[in-house]
Symmetry: C2
Subunit: 146 residues, 2 copies
DNA sequence: TCAAATAATTTGGTAATCAAAGTATATATG
DNA sequence: CATATATACTTTGATTACCAAATTATTTGA
């Protein structure tokens, strides 16, 4: 058990410290290599057809409104995102993906799906439940420390 | 199953995008609140008594030598790390933690241990094996994409 | 011996971020 | 209904973390 604990601890660190870099590698090799990782994550948070407000997206990404404005400026200039002024409250900016933005969104979703498939490969339903419970434990841990 | 898949996929994203922030929160609340997260990770990579070279640590952290030099400068000034010139090859700088650095190292290790304990809470040996296999799947995925 | 290689540092530039001030619009109250 | 306050976003002026390339010191090898 304690030996397993050690291995699991190391695996978690390894996974955590490498996954971002791998996402970045994939991005560099793809047709979207003019995007940075955080721009990609912003596209992801904006999501396909929700038209969330700038504030909502900023909150989701844990960014200040000012930082989000700058990110959206860049993404708009690169043609991935568009601002949609709300008519009923003209202070609000809603965000949408362009066609190009949606293509990138799907590409990233596909990468993520491959990752999850590999993660769960070779397990039956009962075992998947065990894995899910472990992840919920981690979510509880995070909730306790927020 | 596909419903589980969805939940697991979302949990992974949640965990991934929040864990760094939580580490940062803990750090802010601790006695080491003059450290940034990456400085803390550098302390971790330097580790207790290994006296690794600067190059080795840079590689481990996936940083260029120049960036590591700057990080070490800051950590030395703050009193966590010391440079040890090697006598047999005077180009080489070995890195060690000061007493203060070792205290911080242990504090972070304790945090990490709490996390892993919570992750594995309530599982028997067999179930822990399942979880470990899933993590190895992820490591395989990363190896395939490196 | 001295050219090439190696280890670290320095320098110049860019990304991403925040805090605080500013602008435009909406809401609430006296 | 006028105006003070609140809200949503943007702008500005920093700081931090990072990289690439040039530099310095030292070692190795031909």
């Amino acid at each position: 058990m304690s030996e397993n604990y050690q291995k699991i601890s190391e695996a978690l660190v390894q996974i955590y410290s490498n996954i971002l870099r791998i996402e970045e590698n994939e991005l560099r090799k793809s047709q979207f290599n003019n995007l940075t990782i955080q721009e990609m994550h912003a596209i992801n948070a904006i999501s396909m057809y929700d038209h969330k407000t700038a504030s909502e997206v900023a909150k989701e990404l844990h960014l200040t409104p000012g930082t989000l404005t700058l990110t959206i400026n860049r993404l708009a200039k690169k043609g991935y995102v568009e601002r949609i002024r709300s008519d009923d409250d003209r202070r609000i900016v809603r965000l949408g993906l362009t066609r190009k933005g949606r293509v990138e969104y799907r590409a990233h979703a596909a990468f993520h799906e491959k990752l999850v498939k590999k993660f769960l490969k070779g397990f039956n339903d009962e075992e998947v439940q065990v894995i899910y419970r472990a992840l919920r434990n981690l979510e509880d841990f995070m909730a306790d420390h927020s």
